[in-house]
Subunit: 319 residues, 2 copies
Amino acid sequence: MHVLITGAAGMLGRKLTRRLVDVGTLRGSPIDRMDLIDIVETPTEDSICFACVADLCEPGVAEDLLKPVPDVVFHLAGVVSGEAEANFDKGVAVNIDGTRALFDALRFAEGIPRVVFTSSIAVFGAPLPDPIPDDFHLTPLTSYGTQKMVAEALLADYSRRGFFDGIGIRLPTISVRPGSPNAAASGFFSDIIREPLAGAPAVLPVSREVRHSHASPRTAVGYMVHAAELDGAIVGARRNLTMPGVSVTVGEQIEALARVAGPDAMALITESPDPTIGKIVAGWPERFDTRRALNLGFVPDRSYDDIIRAYIEDDLAPV
Amino acid sequence: MHVLITGAAGMLGRKLTRRLVDVGTLRGSPIDRMDLIDIVETPTEDSICFACVADLCEPGVAEDLLKPVPDVVFHLAGVVSGEAEANFDKGVAVNIDGTRALFDALRFAEGIPRVVFTSSIAVFGAPLPDPIPDDFHLTPLTSYGTQKMVAEALLADYSRRGFFDGIGIRLPTISVRPGSPNAAASGFFSDIIREPLAGAPAVLPVSREVRHSHASPRTAVGYMVHAAELDGAIVGARRNLTMPGVSVTVGEQIEALARVAGPDAMALITESPDPTIGKIVAGWPERFDTRRALNLGFVPDRSYDDIIRAYIEDDLAPV
């Protein structure tokens, strides 16, 4: 089993790598090689992992990466929402053209590898029903969401034509994100948990009534692995799936923080409404009915309390 | 009022040109110039029309076409369904990259022109509800439908960002198509009416129970003009609209033919099932609930009898 991960140096890429190394198998076969691709250095010490600094947007790079052709490709590389909105050309170049370069290289490579593509619930924008059903149309209100929608469409068609065997998974907002904030406008959803847990203050830029859908990094990695192992025949022609999330208000997030870490943590959060962030967030989806993914065996977090505990176990405790 | 039409030499392009020349105004202003663009010669004798052979896929062509910048662009150019399925690279090059070249040129052009883009109900593929609501997700089962979906997504985002002011209209199958068949797999829907009306035999490759949604070329041109004149503020962020069609079975089409042209015409149709066409058609949508378009003032044909009469008046009688 030969695995390739793009965007391997990112938070989810590193967690996915660690999970695969720990488990040691994928699709029932021992993993004997993992290629870790990113535009920055991916630190790795494991003997089956080969890190490579490469940019899919450069001509010929995607073709080179597929020698030999992996059995499973996790395509995580991408420009995040805030950056894709601020730098339109970069977002298009990476999220559309870089993805196309990879897809086209796979088209001409030997075999029909499974491709797991991480899309996003940013393909949905308000007004939205509550909950959003699996067959609701894609209505992105950001360039990031648009670019993910385009990649989803291509993934489905390339899979239909047998160029590769793709599964797109629309991840909810990932929280609690470890480390420093990235350029995503959704950063505060994690900041208000992570910073108080470290004894640091956090700013809440939106109302406590804001409702949103979350998955822990641990669960998101579980979704990726499950997507790699799914039987494509059961999935059928509709290759892009909305992943389950825990739908909570910001207020409920904070209550969960108080339950897990005590009232002192909660007191470190200061409300300071930011109309710009508030407007962006108002266009985001709140809750999904993801029965397709659930029927296909994707296993969500059980509660926001569990999401906080997963962060403490996976990211805070080891430090 | 300066208008530009891509794909102007095609059947709908020529009919749109004639309509605009006859009406003489668009968005309340007299039309003083029409640029007719196609990869083949566009015959024109009208003094306000300037035909130009140009391929949007070639570098710099789109930029050149926008000097000066038109007030309204009708983007009809595209590779049709059968060809896009048979020649994947050509479909992508024309339907995605050619469209992107035009959109990107518009992005950097002065002003914010209205862009009317002709999409297709091929963005929908089975299994589908009956009727298909306006908020049903796009599920193309062809590369053509996928490419239209991608162009729709870009049109909405480019419009949201203010690069231009786009409206995408998903046309139902156009019947009765005059002239010779094109490479579209849907050709028989027109053949079985047009050929008998000319006293010629026609082959029906699918069952009479097959249900499909139709618009006459006259009505499709009306949709385009109405899309050019719509108030974008009323349309909102969701820039792609399914156009109303007359939903009939093939059997009902044939009954309409008998009513309009007599039983002799009907007798010229021979049933000869073609499993390949039958399989393609089985994935197509049958009926839509297009209340958004109807509320926005798009006016459909009233019946399939009217569609046949429009063909006789517009295409058969003048010959």
